[in-house]
């Protein structure tokens, strides 16, 4: 089955050694499907001269070596792939169910969010955990995981003054997005909980646990369980399953 013929695609030069492909298929999820399918096909063809691709939401950055490939040739190849793109080209990704703790001392923004969202903490956590999230992109930092879409009831502004340090493995929300911090780093998103393991490990293969198009659900655990899980190897804490 060919994907929605209705999607619009624009390919623009982005400097002398990259093309930016923007896709509009009506919704973020539909555009993201096309981007992921394009990316998968482009990677599969291993076109000579492509050095790397960066998918993110509704765009795909394609970097190439101008010495080995002409921009117009690459542009033609991307158009050719887009013309025949198929539902089965969308990578399936993995399905994850992740234990997470949404209590003190991990829920750094609890008090402010209860006021701002006019809800008690339990309903905020229940609402967050009732949703399945899609990984829209992995990037910014190595392993930073962008999740969407956050339920309307949880949408909030970023902090006016970003924190100097957000702890590793924090789960954060801002706007329509949720995210997971792979390292402690400065950050302006609101921190609602934490995972008992790290999502980016240099020695793991691949180093980033999640990839674009994965689906993630969170399961609230008590601080006591969280502390126990922190001591266990990651493979015994979470299971991945290929999506059907």
């Amino acid at each position: 089955m060919t994907l929605s013929p209705a999607f619009k695609m624009a390919i623009r030069p982005f400097g002398d050694s990259a093309l930016l492909v923007d896709v509009d298929a009506g919704s973020t999820d539909a555009s993201s499907d096309i981007v992921m399918a394009l990316n998968a096909q482009l990677s599969r063809q291993r076109a000579r001269g492509i050095t790397q691709t960066t998918p993110s939401y509704n765009s795909l950055l394609v970097c190439f070596e101008p010495e080995r490939m002409q921009r117009s040739t690459l542009q033609g190849e991307i158009h050719a792939i887009a013309d025949t793109i198929n539902v089965k080209d969308i990578p399936k990704g993995n399905q994850w169910s992740l234990p997470a703790c949404f209590d003190a001392p991990y829920a750094l923004d609890r008090v402010a969010l209860e006021t701002e969202l006019s809800q008690d903490w339990q309903s905020i956590v229940d609402c967050f955990c009732a949703t399945e999230y899609r990984v829209h992109a992995v990037g910014f930092l190595p392993g930073f995981t962008y999740l969407g879409n956050l339920p309307d009831a949880l949408q909030c502004d970023r902090l006016r003054d970003p924190r100097a340090t957000v702890p590793t493995s924090s789960i954060a929300i801002a706007g329509t997005q949720a995210g997971i911090y792979p390292f402690d780093s400065p950050g302006g998103w609101r921190i609602i909980g934490r995972l008992p393991f790290t999502v980016f490990q240099t020695q793991a293969d691949p180093p980033a646990l999640f990839q674009a198009n994965d689906r993630i659900r969170f399961e609230a655990v008590t601080p006591k369980v969280f502390e126990a899980l922190e001591q266990r190897p990651i493979a015994s804490v979470i299971k991945q399953a290929t999506r059907r």
Binding site: P13, A18, Q52, V138, F140, S185
Partner: protein
Amino acid sequence: MKLQFITSGLRTTTQDLGRPGYTHMGVPIGGALDRSAMRYANHLVGNALAAPVLEVTLSGPHLHCLEAGRVALVGSGFDLLLNGDPQPALLPISVNPGDELIIKSSGNGCRAYLSVSGEWHAKRWLGSASALRIGSHELVPGAVWTRGDVLETQDRSVKPWPSTLLPPEPPSNMIKVSPGPEYEWLDDHGRSQLLSKRIRVIDPSNRVGLRTDTQIQLREDKRRIEMVSSGVQPGTVQLTHGGQAIILMRDGQTIGGYPRVLQCASQSLDQLAHLKVGDELILSLIDS
């Protein structure tokens, strides 16, 4: 060859051509900020052009030679002293056990590359020996050199091939740029503030990005737009909400949510390596 670090300098790291192909998990390409200097330094000592080198930043290390070999320093703002004597630039220098090498800042530069003859035993991560620091984390700890460390290479006694490789061009503060994806978000006034005029590098600036002292407003109808995060690359010029232009460097983020108003030409990326806080640069638009 074997060299021991008596002092390490401000930040001396192993760098090569980086790790292309992992931006989809947020890992930047990284590698030597000035690739032509890196290649030329390797060429001078007869190494493969893509071999790892030491990247020296602002202040250089003091090295003690334990085993003989050749070194070469290429870059700007540093002199190579052998037992206290300044060495000629852009030539391989033979070093013997007991010799002292000092890479001394001459005050006006930022980065230089020291090649060390022979095959390196550098640990690689995702195919590259390059150091990568994310916040306070060293992702490749062995690639950051500290006092007492010993750098050892296996000599292969290869004489440099005759080559037409030219020395890198001297550093310039004229940075060639082409319009970025959101260039249209700047009006004529914004463009005139950003292009063809001197802008200053301010703190903090590092291998992740160069911040500048600009205060540039987007076109009125674009000021309140929250962009959907999209791919960026080394040399992308982003404009923050506060109007500050940030030039992303090779260890920079892989996707971003600020308007990408310009993109530096590949050939200008090497020049950016030599700009430090307080230096001025000029972004100059070329036909793409």
